[in-house]
Each structure stands twice: as C-alpha cells, then as structure tokens.
C-alpha cells in the first residue's frame, strides 16, 4: 500500500502556515501532494472529515528506561506508547543504567530503536560523566553517534563553573544543553509545591523560587557563553518571566512545558496520591495560568511530556519515598487540547508547539507537511471521548494521574515515513 490519500481533513501545517480543509497524498514514504480534491488513482483512501491532519508530534523529553530499568519501560514499549499518542519521534533522557554518557550507549539505544520502536528515537546524552556534575562528556563523539542534545536532567548541575564549561563546549557541536532547573539547595527534601497545600498536607515544601533561582543562573551563563540553553518542564510564573525577558535581550534560550503543569495544580496531591508526585512539583493555579499564557504567546516553545515510568510497587510507598514522575505519552494530546477548547490557543499553534518547534530545538526534520518531506504524520480526532486505562495502554507502567479519567481528543492514526504504525481500532501495527 504505497500510496495513501488522506481525504478531507483539516490540514494543520505549522511550517507552511496552513490551516485549511484539504487532501494529503503520501507516496514512497514522503508527502507527495497537499491540496483540495487530489486525484490519486489506486491509492488507499483514509476519510478524514472532522479530523485534523498534522505533522507527527516530537517529544523533547521522555524516559524510556533502556538500558537498565526495562521493568519500568523499554524502547519497544515506550516507542509504542509514543505512536499511540501521535508522537512520531521521542527524545529520550540519559539517566539510564548505565547512563548515556558514552557513544557506546548512544549506539545501543539507536540500535534498539531501529529494531523495536515504531517511533523515531533521538537520544539525549549526559552533559557530565555518570551524571555526576563534574566532568563533561565527549560531546563531539556523542553527536557523531547520534545524540541530539545534552542533559543531566534531574541530577541538576549545581556547580556553576561546570555548567559554564558545558555550555561553552556545547557550541562546538551545535546542540542544546537541556536543564532541569531546580536549585537543589533550595529544594532540599521538598516533595510538594510550597504553599497552602504543603502546609495542609504536612509534607516538606519545594518552593517555586528554587526553579526561578536556577533558571536565572543558567540564563546568565547562556548569555555569557552564547550557547543554546533549553529549559525543561517550566512550572512557575517566575521562571516564565525570566525566560521572557532573556529572550527579549537576545539570549539563545528555548523552553518546554508539560501537559501536567498546564492542566493540574498542587491540589491534585491533597489525597497523597504518589502518582501526582513529580519534579518539579505541580504548582499553584497562578503558576499554571502563567504557563498556559506563556505557551500561547510563544515564550514557552514546546509541549514535552517528561514521560517518566515507574513500577506500581515503587509508587506504593510513603509520599516522601516515592520516585517522582508520571507517564504522559498516551495522554498528552488529549490533555493539552483543553487549551484549545478553552479558546486559549489555536489548533495550528498547538500543533506547532508539538511538532515543528521541538524539531527545530533538536535540529531535526519534522513539523512540516510540505510536498517532498518525510511522511511522519498524525490523524487526530479532537472530539473523541475515551477513558484512559493505563493497564490497557502501551507503556509498561501505570503511574498516571489521569488513570480512569474520561479525556477528549485522541490520535486515531499515526504514520512514520509513510507507513501506518498506529490505528486506534487495531492498535500499534509495526514493527
């Protein structure tokens, strides 16, 4: 089935600034044509009336746990969860076991992805060896092996001198340095946003200022070095404001926000559900609103899931002992469509933040439906109501605050290089 005609959908192409009803013809793994009433003799036809046709989503931030913690997730299961959520490419974090701080690990991840993942996998390498925050990794060799960026993620580099050198050196390879911005000396034992909720729960608070202080430091270091700083999972109004002002001053900074920080607040934690424990923590309603506005106005460039699988038994412990993180690849689209339904962002702009913007940040193709480009795309039913049951999902883990909730909007088909890899009726089809 080499030729596919996707007929009569709402075509959302951020690269081409297109938002109109049209047909899309796929041929030979590429987009052959986009336009009204295309003729395609012999093509398989997908009726798309009432649905959106968009470039495949690109997730800047996921934990696929392979190598080392395959009981939580692996590249095969994470890749399946990705395409089931409309993502055709996933950037995976370096905190595996061993950490992705060496080209041999990058090779292994890419090799596993080629064999078993229906989605493209973009490895993010560690910024320092062993994620220890001391000695920088061999960035040139890692990029040659296929790394798309550098991050110690949750093991935030607290030594300002090391971070300065990492940023400086990253200019050699033209890849972003991605920061989980939390000053650990301010977070200390904090596990829930500091404020009325932490006070009621009696759990140690993690103050919003811990994020802002670290963002401020790294923005100044990015200005000093001229490097590309990418701020992961922004969660506070204060950090948004710092990023906005830095961008106005010409600092090369990009930023992402998660579906959970866009739609949930710290009040979700009032029942002590460890599936609401995440780093940075769910914040106040005012912080959430600031993040929503910043995504709409472009201060925050991308939606990223921070998909972080953990086994059930690891979450069935004291709130303070539970590992932070939640899974998000299969729910991200439905969750962020809330912003479209609330009239806060146009569909084309949301698609831009899910596809072309993250692709641009990683210097990878994507986010375009122009004829000739690789046919990575997704068909979305923005109205479809469905109940999310993690046990029936594609991830190996279940740690989701949306478990059992009815969500609206879903990827109903996903193509990677012109090949149908997911269909909502039949499930994941390949490899």
């Amino acid at each position: 089935m080499d030729r596919v005609l996707i007929r009569g959908g709402r075509v959302l192409d951020p690269a081409g600034e297109r938002d109109e009803i049209a047909d899309v013809l796929l041929e030979g793994g590429r987009i052959a044509a986009v336009g009204p009433h295309l003729e395609a003799v012999g093509a398989a036809v997908v009726e798309a009336a009432g649905r959106w046709v968009a470039p495949g989503f690109v997730d800047l931030h996921a934990h696929l746990r392979e190598p080392g913690q395959e009981y939580k997730e692996d590249i095969a299961s994470g890749g399946r969860a990705a395409v089931a959520g409309g993502f055709t490419a996933v950037a995976c974090m370096a905190n595996t076991q061993p950490a992705n701080d060496d080209p041999s690990v990058t090779d292994y991840v890419l090799d596993r992805a080629r064999q078993d993942s229906p989605a493209r996998v973009y490895p993010i390498a560690a910024a320092t060896k062993g994620l220890a925050g001391e000695v920088m990794t061999e960035m040139a060799a890692l990029v040659r092996a296929g790394a798309v960026g550098f991050s110690d993620d949750g093991k935030t580099i607290m030594d300002g001198g090391v971070m300065r050198r990492v940023l400086e050196y990253s200019r050699l390879v033209d890849a972003p340095v991605i920061v989980h911005a939390e000053d650990r000396t301010l977070v200390r034992d904090g596990v829930v946003n500091e404020g009325p909720v932490s006070t009621r729960l009696g759990l140690p608070g993690n103050p919003a200022v811990a994020e802002a202080v670290h963002v401020a430091r790294d923005l100044l270091l990015a200005e000093l070095t001229g490097a590309h700083l990418h701020v992961a999972h922004v969660s506070t109004a204060a950090a948004v404001e710092l990023i906005r002002r830095a961008r106005e001053r010409g600092i090369h900074v990009t930023a992402e926000v998660t579906p959970h920080h866009l739609t949930l607040t710290d009040e979700e934690t009032l029942g002590y559900d460890t599936n609401t424990k995440v780093a940075p923590p769910l914040r106040s309603a005012a912080d959430m609103q600031a993040c929503r506005r910043a995504l709409a106005d472009g201060t925050l460039d991308a939606v990223a899931t921070d998909h972080a699988p953990h086994a059930v038994h690891e979450k069935e412990v004291e709130f303070t002992a539970a590992p932070p993180g939640l899974i998000g690849l299969e729910t991200a689209l439905a969750v962020v469509l809330d912003l479209v339904r609330a009239g806060e962002i146009a569909p084309l702009e949301l698609v831009r933040r899910l596809s072309s913007n993250p692709a641009r940040i990683l210097r990878r193709p994507g986010g375009s439906l122009a004829p000739g480009t690789v046919a990575d795309l997704v068909l979305v039913d923005p109205e479809l109501r469905w109940t999310y049951e993690p046990t029936k999902g594609w991830s190996k883990s279940r740690n989701s605050p949306w478990a059992g909730r009815t969500l609206q909007g879903r990827a109903v088909a996903t193509w990677v290089e012109g090949r149908l890899v997911y269909d909502v009726e039949r499930g994941v089809l390949a490899p």
Binding site: S198, L203, Y272, E316
Partner: protein
C-alpha cells in the same frame, strides 16, 4: 457526618467533634471504677500499627482498647519502605487479610494512614502522621480545655513552637477554630509553615504579643535535631525567645492554663517548675487521652458491619 475513619480533624464537622467529646466524658467514668472494664468491644480486634515508635500514644490506645474488652494487638513493622522490601500498601493488604475491626496507624511520614485507609476494609484511626495530623491528641486537648474552662467558643489559644513540623499544631488549629476559638501561632519565622493564615490562624514572631490575653498556652515539643542550626541557631537562643517560664506566662490572662502534648523537654520549651502542677494541666491531658481514645474506638470499631447485621 463522621466517616468510617478518623484521619484528621480537618475532615470533621463541629457536630462530629461534639459527639466524640460527649462520648469521652461518659467513658471517663469507667476509669474511676474499681474494675476498669466494660464489655462493649468484646470479640473485636484492634491493631496498633506503629511504624514509628511512640510508647505513650501506643500505650494510651492499648489501655483504651482493653478497658473496652477488645483484643489489642501491637504490630510494629521496622520503619519505612526505604529500608525493607515490602511496600506500605502490601503491609496494609496483609493486615486486611487478618480481618481486624480497627487499625490505629502511626507513621513518620504524612499521608500514610490515608493511603492505608484506601486499601483497608476496617476503620483507620490516625495516631499521628509526620507533620500532618494527630487527631486524638487535639480531641483530648479540647476535652481538657472544656473541663478547665467550661467552653471553647470565644477562648484565645496560643500555640507556641515548631509549627512547621508539628502534627499536633495542625490538628489543634482545626479543632479549636472549628469550635469557635481564636487560635494564634508563635514561632521563629523559620518554623512557621508557608501560607499558615490559610488555616485560619494569625502568626506571631513575638511570644509576648501571641500570649497577650490568651486563655490557653499550648507549648509544642521541640525536636532537638532541629535546634542544631538549620531552623534556629541554638537551643539557648530558642529557649530565651520562645521558651515559657513563669515570667513570660504573665503576658497571658491571669487564669491561663499551660498545655504540652509531651514528652516535655524540660528547660528547653518549658521551664522545669512550670511543667509540674498548676497552671499546667499536662497530666490531665494524659488522663483524658485514655477516655478520649476509648470514645473514638467505641464510635468506630463498635460499628457493626452489614455482614454482621446479617
């Protein structure tokens, strides 16, 4: 209306609290008898599930259960999930399979009683969870003040000490404000929780201002490891500014009473001579603790399940 469990005072209505206090007053009479035992909970099993050691609270619950003729079993798993293989919820599932009639839970981390209640068929009574709540302590404090002052409505209560880390403070804030008292908290600013005013109290950095006109002065136990420099510079500085002695007590009303949940750090948060006898009511609190816990066990473990009703 009171639910199946007693996890915190925050969940209770005023009427629930009054019902518990009235029941406790009736239970006090049992403690005065020659034979201190009634058959009310005969054949019922109460498990004291204490992940954190607390001889006082556990003994108080044990005596309360035995005076009601329940079979009381003490179960003390070794500390936290971090140190052992079994998760907290697995421990709860194992316990549930033994079909207890009530489980009293104590844990060093906030929220554990709630998580256990979510998987357990039997009622759960929170005997203190981290810095969250210690509801039976607050109820016995209400009972003590009620007996001393004849009312709660309109009283001024000053709670002094490490409010940030105190479950006793949180439960008492809810308990006294729900019954119409004005509650103040006083501590060094490092020991006041974020947005504490959202609990309906006013925070003071001056002991003198906090005590001005107070009917009840409640001193909290200070954990010595928190006096090592992270929250306050030294024990000496803490005692000088927030420790209570007879001189500072004069800021309060002439007939003010002094309370403390125990165990007392004599000479740190409270002067030696002030801990014994009037105006201190510390031993009355302990005495009332047994009757109050009898009332709670009676109201929760004494309910017949639909299966038993047949």
């Amino acid at each position: 209306m009171m639910g199946r469990d007693l996890l915190g005072i925050e969940d209770l209505e005023r009427a629930d609290i009054e019902r518990i206090l009235e029941t406790a007053e009736r239970m006090q009479e049992v403690g005065l008898r020659d034979v201190k035992k009634v058959p009310t909970l005969r054949g019922r099993t109460i498990v004291n599930l204490f992940f954190e050691s607390s001889t006082r609270t556990r003994t108080s619950f044990e005596i309360a259960g035995k005076r009601l003729s329940a079979d009381v079993v003490n179960f003390s798993p070794s500390s936290s999930s971090l140190k052992k293989e079994e998760s907290i919820l697995d421990t709860a599932r194992v316990l549930d399979a033994m079909a207890p009639d009530a489980v009293v839970v104590r844990h060093a981390v906030a929220g554990v009683p709630k998580r256990i209640a979510d998987v357990l068929g039997a009622p759960v009574i929170n005997a203190g969870d981290g810095a969250h709540e210690h509801p039976t302590q607050a109820l016995l404090d209400l009972l003590t003040v009620l007996q001393e002052k004849g009312r709660i409505d309109g009283l001024t209560v000053a709670i002094v000490g490490d409010i940030l880390h105190s479950r006793v403070a949180r439960s008492n804030i809810y308990a006294f404000t729900k019954l119409g008292a004005e509650v103040r908290v006083a501590a060094p600013p490092t020991m006041i929780p974020a947005a504490v005013e959202t609990l309906g109290v006013k925070a003071f950095a001056s002991l003198r201002e906090a005590l001005d006109g107070a009917d009840v002065v409640m001193m909290l136990r200070i954990q010595r490891e928190r006096l090592a420099g992270a929250y306050v510079p030294s024990i000496r500085e803490y005692s000088a500014t927030f420790g209570l002695d007879r001189t500072k007590l004069r800021y309060a009303k002439d007939d003010a009473i002094v309370m403390h949940p125990g165990p007392v750090n004599r000479g740190v948060e409270i002067a030696h001579d002030l801990a014994d006898g009037r105006p201190s009511v510390i031993l009355d609190q302990v005495r009332n603790g047994v009757a109050l816990r009898m009332a709670v066990l009676y109201l929760l473990a004494g309910r017949r399940s639909p299966a038993q009703e047949g």
